[in-house]
């Protein structure tokens, strides 16, 4: 009974963390968002289903902290024409599951489904797919070591994607 209760509490903590990360993208607030990542953290949006490799196959995004830092500065640059328009998002995350957990290191892999409604330049778009978060436990809290975003239309014709999803 206790184990089950612990398990539910654990899942609640994880969900809470995923919601928090998503809330920074809703606004979007990249300064706070980056803080959710480890120093060696990466963000990946593949361009095909089940993409195995980010180096030998094209992706829509594949950023480490260096690229996140550049993107964070670019996002608020007054001369970035594509950033002249407000971006507002609403992320809904569900079907959260722990796919893998390592008790020794406190690291775990969490999968979830997401829908992100994005409003940008007078147009509302819907992105949907699956998140895979590799989380590590640091000082009692979570950090993201790797986030993978598999859009269901990753190999379709897409417009500009102005912000991380």
């Amino acid at each position: 009974m206790d184990d089950k209760f612990d398990g539910v509490a654990r899942l609640c903590d994880i969900e809470e963390f995923l919601y928090e990360e998503a809330s920074y993208l809703d606004r979007p607030d990249l300064d706070r968002w980056i803080e959710q990542y480890t120093e060696d953290g990466t963000y990946w949006m593949p361009a095909i289903e089940d993409q195995a490799d980010a180096l030998n196959h094209i992706s829509l995004f594949y950023d480490d902290r260096v690229m996140m830092e550049i993107r964070r500065r670019n996002f608020v640059h007054p001369r970035a024409a594509s950033k002249d328009y407000k971006v507002r998002c609403s992320h809904i995350i569900s079907n959260v599951r722990i796919a893998e957990e390592c008790n020794d290191t406190g690291s775990l892999t969490v999968t979830s489904n997401f829908q992100c409604v994005m409003y940008y330049h007078d147009k509302q778009s819907l992105y949907a797919g699956r998140y895979t978060h590799e989380l590590v436990t640091i000082d009692g809290g979570f950090k993201i070591k790797h986030k993978r975003v598999d859009l269901i239309n990753c190999d379709g014709v897409l417009g500009s994607i102005i912000i991380y999803i």
Binding site: M45, A47, I48, L55, N56, H57, I58, S59, L60, F61, Y62, V66, M67, E69, I70, R71, R72, R73, N74, H77, P78, R79, A80, A81, S82, K83, D84, G156, V157, L158, G159, S160, I161, I162
Partner: protein
Amino acid sequence: MSYTNSEIDKLVTPTKIHRAVYTDPEIFDLEMKRIWGGAWIFIGHESQIPSAGDYTTLNIGKTPIVMVRDKQQQIHVLHNRCGHKGAKLVDKPCGKIGGFRCCYHGWTYRLDGKLLGVPHMAGYEGTGFDKEDPRYSMQKFARYESYRGFVFATLDPSAPDLKVWLGGAGDVLDNLCDRSPEGEVEVAGGVLRFEHDCNWKMFIENLNDTMHPMIVHRSVVDAANEFIKTLPEDSPHRIEAEIIPPFGASYENFEATGITGFPYGHHYDGGKSSIHSDYSVDPDYAAVMIEAYGEERTREILTFNTHNTLYYPSLTIKSAIQNIRIVRPIAVDKCVIETWSFRLKGAPDSMLQRTILYSRLINSNGSMVGPDDHTAYFRMQQGLLSQASDWVEMHRNYGSDNDLGDRRTNSGTSDLDMRSQYGAWRHYMLGEVAHYG
């Protein structure tokens, strides 16, 4: 209204273009018929269909096409339409088949498009229908040819040979292939398809527009430089730090790279130098190149440094980076730009990885470069609906192009590229000679 040739003639002068060229759906339809129906259009690369029965599909304008390899290893470019009721015969991006078979009534075709079988033929007896009539086979393009693996096709039976049409601009396709120690490239690493809310010409007019990078891409260059400054001096080397900052190169720098224009609307910027010239060379790559070609020839290959080369109207390549972009017009205010990457056969994996990195960093829908260009394009598309002026101007360095016979050259910040393109535009739309300005 429908345009007469004398009305079309008035839409483009050597220094200005009427806004209707970008905004009028009738002009778009005429362009599809006359330019896209007259020029050699890039269809694909032979490496996409290595064995018999392999096919790849695409659209040219609204026309569905299939490129397929037959059992004799011959490549065919066919209209993807059943001779019976018109259904597309294959409808995946690529695949492998023994022959074509329509999903509707089961008509079958050989890999070269010839009609083979029609079920229950008895009903056709005495009706005048003849299965051997080539009209019922899959229709072939008037001509298709391959140049070093790059397959082009044209609907115009009287088009010049592909090699003549490529002219001096073909040097850049050669350079792309020569950068492989085996002299061959192959498609690798997937494709990006980026929808653009603009006329297709706005994209190709930007390729050698060297007056925009320091404005449009200033934000990504600033962001990168600002962050690089915060890094300790002994930080690991990043290829990104070679790729991003040159987008902020000065006017003088771009001016010095030069633009070279050719008949039929092709052109490139750079040659001796470009924004790609200062990339570091992987020593393992240099070693296999020198082994294959010797030092002098290797130097010659690697120092022919163009930036963007346009094969008007459908294909643009970056030989120094080994990626290409393909133009797919959809409507007067919509097109899709595809980005493909190439592997240099016999080169270390690091070369393809650099190509992939470049495509992601610069050309991806999620990049910090492509979306800023795209913003400029759709603002032009919307701004040109204004009746404040009918004209778009292209005066830069007009009257000073150097005519070298088979090509013209001018400063890297000139509008020579625009004059080359609109020479070709007039050529296809009006049947003129394809040099202009």
